[in-house]
């Protein structure tokens, strides 16, 4: 495997290269070339990832740690006890993520060429998009928590840049967009705090951050047997001469397994100590905080719906298919920890299930086509989180993959709709009132509001049919991809409740089934509002189907949404030519404690019946026309008005945060700024204490000391010198004879002094 795994740096490098090319040369290239560079980079990364995937079986599915050339010596942090190499891990889990990211990413890149056509910052968009891919690949391939964190932050940055991409739109929309970007960034900081704490605690506990050391086998029972490690096997699976590290030097998971098996380990934190199990629970709880930030779970999901301000390809790529699934990836990667911390797993389950239900409920009451999908994404992420919380790592990853297909499809479809409605609007506008041209309208037309649509099925057949496939896949209709993955999650919850007797299993099962019903309902409502009925505006009347660049990815994703379920057909269902549980068996090689699942016929039937019933109810409710005569939702005309209003107001979640957190925070910062900083620190402290003290000290030094003592002393000295000089100048008469006489006298004195000893002798004698 090592030969093929050493390709992994290329997977990361190529998107970055594409990004750099467009960054520096983008202004000289036309749109076609920019798009080719960006999509080509994504496509090549996908081909490489696929190559490694196909190489995997030949090497026994063994995960490999790769030291990227050059980088490992550049980005190396040696310290006393800290040793963090820049290593990448290629195993079945990271390959799954790589395939999803680059595969769906490539399709969305192609789509974006059509969608972003004519944008003033076309090149910059693809710079960001490729940059995102690179960071996402760092996130999924990193072999230690810190490298993962680098990717985690990098994708957060790209998300920020892309949400606020249209920061200069008119009518205050640009402001809204950049506010949404800031919101996403700041809310994610809260989650990142959790991730960072988890990293610190992990390092403190295990002394390393590496998931696995080179040559280490995954811990825990794989296929129910204990893995014995032969020295030869270690050396052969070693990549870049790190063979000095023996197998006793294990990564965090190996160490955790060993210590837990020994039992009774205590971790010391200065003044207090905790058992290893408790520490693992704390680490995983902090990790969950990070997950709720990045994967948009309660309580930090509020940023994702606003993030729809970004261009639609961004919503599809970052905020549906890839970045937001980073949390699920993180939990799956750290499955050993979560397995050892049942409390955290329960919290994960409940967070996921509650999020799934609440987001599903809110989605029912939204008018914005992308907002519905955004809440749907939050809800589906809740499904995945609940699944991994119940130990269904394969189920969570399965849903992650299928969701990437159909949610990317739905977002791209909605982008296609928005694009078309915008065109239709311009078209209708140009043919309507010519006097309006040249100046902006009073009330801006919202091409994302579903009330402005209707009857688009006939105008945009490809978009409609692919959207319908995506909708049915999301609603979980057999035999589309969503059915299998959602059913596996429900099956996990069922098993967790009835077989393992976990209370959170029962709760999750109940919440998720209701959430699934909501899913089917709001998706069918959307189909009715957008595609069926009659066009409600001139814009919808004139909406054209989009070009092949935009419809081709839709078709590919629709095919994937239909066939995606074949990835993981549960045991007990026989489909010719397709083996069962491909994904579960694949992931077992890198995720310990992954178990397959028997097909639960009763549960599948129940879930399908509920989904179909929800679609039926929605269809009856929203036909023939989805709106009442006054332009309100049909639900508002029924007895459920209050619930609709609640969903429409997003449960007042943002307002609650404003009331509880933001307003007190603003008040506190205002108080700190005005009272503490300005009044007290500036006016009082600076003026009274520092300035006045300084002035007084300076005054003392200037007047008594400098002018009084020092100046006076030197003036006196000067006066004295002048007085003496005045006296002495009288000696200089200017007459030569005076000087000659002085010389004579001097000479006489000298002669006298010379003769003095002789005189003395004469006198003495």
């Amino acid at each position: 495997m090592e030969n093929f795994a050493s390709l992994v740096p290329l997977v990361i490098l190529i998107p970055f290269t594409g990004s750099l090319i467009n960054l520096f040369l983008g202004r000289y290239l036309n749109e076609r070339m920019i798009g080719t560079v960006a999509s080509g980079a994504a496509g090549i990364a996908f081909v490489i990832a696929a190559t490694m995937t196909f190489a995997m079986p030949r090497f026994g599915y063994e995960g490999v740690v790769v030291n990227p050339p050059i980088l490992d010596s550049w980005l190396y942090i040696p310290s006393a006890a800290l040793n963090i190499p820049w290593q990448l891990r290629v195993d079945t889990l990271s390959l799954t993520m790589m395939l999803v990211v680059t595969g769906v990413g490539t399709l969305i890149h192609i789509y974006a060429i059509g969608y972003m056509h004519g944008d003033s910052r076309f090149a910059r968009f693809f710079v960001y998009l490729n940059l995102f891919l690179g960071f996402m690949l760092i996130l999924v391939t990193g072999n230690n928590l810190l490298v993962t964190f680098v990717g985690w932050e990098g994708v957060g940055l790209c998300s920020f840049l892309l949400i606020g991409f249209w920061f200069d739109k008119k009518h205050g929309v640009g402001w809204k967009n950049s506010n949404a970007a800031r919101k996403a960034f700041i809310v994610n900081r809260v989650g990142d705090f959790g991730f960072l704490m988890a990293i610190f605690l992990t390092f403190w506990t295990f002394g390393t951050l590496d998931y696995y050391k080179p040559g280490e086998h995954i811990p825990g029972p794989v296929h129910g047997e204990t893995v014995t490690i032969e020295p030869g096997a270690v050396a052969s699976s070693d990549t870049h001469g790190a063979s000095t590290e023996t197998v006793t030097d294990k990564g965090i998971f190996g160490k955790a397994e060993d210590l837990l098996a020994e039992g009774g380990h205590i971790v010391h934190f200065g003044p207090f100590s905790l058992s290893l199990e408790a520490v693992l629970t704390i680490i995983t709880l902090f990790m969950i905080l990070g997950v709720t930030g990045k994967s948009a779970q309660i309580p930090l999901f509020v940023w994702l719906p606003d993030a729809m301000a970004g261009p639609t390809p961004v919503s599809a790529l970052i905020h549906a298919a890839t970045m937001v699934t980073a949390g699920i990836y993180l939990i799956t990667r750290n499955s050993v920890f979560f397995h050892a911390a049942p409390l955290s797993s329960a919290v994960v389950t409940l967070v996921g299930a509650v999020t799934a239900l609440i987001a599903g409920f809110i989605a029912v009451g939204q008018w914005d086509i992308k907002r519905v999908l955004a809440y749907s994404t939050v809800s589906q992420l809740g499904f995945m989180v609940a699944a991994v919380g119940l130990g269904g790592y394969a189920a969570g990853m399965f849903h992650l993959v299928t969701h990437a297909f159909f949610k990317a499809l739905l977002f791209l479809g909605s982008g296609s709709v928005i694009h078309a409605v915008e065109h239709g609007h311009h078209h209708a506008h140009a043919h309507g009132d010519h006097g309006d041209q040249g100046h902006e309208e009073e009330t801006p037309f919202d091409p994302q509001d579903m009330r402005n649509m209707g009857g688009l099925a006939r105008k945009m057949p490809i978009t409609f049919w692919t959207y319908l496939i995506g909708t049915l896949a999301l609603a979980g209709i057999i035999p589309l991809a969503g059915f299998w993955s959602k059913d596996e999650i429900l099956g996990k919850a069922f098993n967790g409740g009835f077989n393992d007797g976990k209370i959170e299993g029962f709760i999750a099962l109940g919440l998720l089934i209701v959430a699934a019903a909501f899913t089917a309902f709001y998706m069918w409502r959307q189909i009715r509002l957008v595609f069926l009925g009659k066009p409600r505006t001139a814009a919808a009347e004139h909406a054209p189907e989009n070009g092949a660049l935009m419809t081709f990815p839709l078709v590919v994703l629709a095919v994937l949404s239909v066939l995606g379920g074949l990835l993981n057909i549960p045991l007990g269902v026989n489909i010719p030519l397709v083996p069962n549980e491909i994904l579960t068996l694949w992931l077992e090689h890198s995720v310990p404690y992954t178990k397959g699942l028997e097909f639960n016929f009763l549960l599948a039937v129940t879930a399908t019946v509920i989904a179909v019933a929800a679609i039926f109810v929605a269809d009856r409710l929203y036909s023939p026309e989805p709106l009442t005569k006054t332009g309100k939702d049909k639900l508002e005309a029924t007895g459920l008005r209050a619930y609709f209003r609640l969903a429409n107001a997003k449960l007042y979640w943002d307002e609650t945060y404003f009331r509880l957190l933001e307003n007190p925070y603003n008040r506190l910062s205002k108080w700190l700024a005005n009272v503490v900083d300005w009044d007290w620190w500036h006016d009082r402290f600076h003026n009274n204490v520092i300035r006045d003290t300084f002035n007084r000290l300076a005054g003392f030094l200037a007047n008594p000391v400098d002018r009084g003592a020092i100046d006076k002393a030197f003036l006196r000295l000067g006066d004295a010198v002048a007085a003496i000089g005045g006296r002495l100048r009288g000696l200089q008469t200017g007459y030569i004879r005076t000087y000659v006489f002085t010389m004579l006298v001097g000479a006489l004195i000298v002669i006298f002094l010379i003769l003095l000893p002789l005189l003395r002798q004469a006198v003495g004698r």
């Binding site: 002495l728 200017g734 004879r737």
Partner: protein
């Protein structure tokens, strides 16, 4: 028959008289030429003393020194007269009492 020898004291007295005359000339005369001549007188007074002692002790060093003094005096005369000419050209006088620019 040996010529009568003049005792050295006579020479010394003559030398001293000449020297004092020179000093007085330098001190009292105002004409620069006269002061100059007085200086020459002092030089030759010392020359006389040197040769007298040379003869007394039979040491040719004294006589040699005199040659040096005479030659240097010649140089000094050249420089001194040039100075006096220069002074006269600027001041139109060689009265040294007029040359009191250095008066403090």
């Amino acid at each position: 028959m040996q010529p009568p020898t003049v005792p050295v004291e006579n020479f010394i007295i003559l030398s001293a008289v000449l020297f004092i005359m020179g000093i007085l000339g330098v001190l009292v005369r105002r004409n620069a030429i006269m002061i100059f001549m007085s200086v020459e007188l002092m030089l030759n007074a010392s020359n006389l003393a040197l040769v007298a002692f040379a003869r007394q002790w039979g040491d040719m060093g004294g006589q040699m020194t005199v040659f040096f003094v005479i030659s240097i005096a010649a140089a000094e005369v050249a420089v001194g007269l040039a100075l006096i000419v220069a002074i006269f050209k600027t001041k139109k006088t060689i009265d040294i009492d007029e040359l009191n620019t250095l008066k403090g």
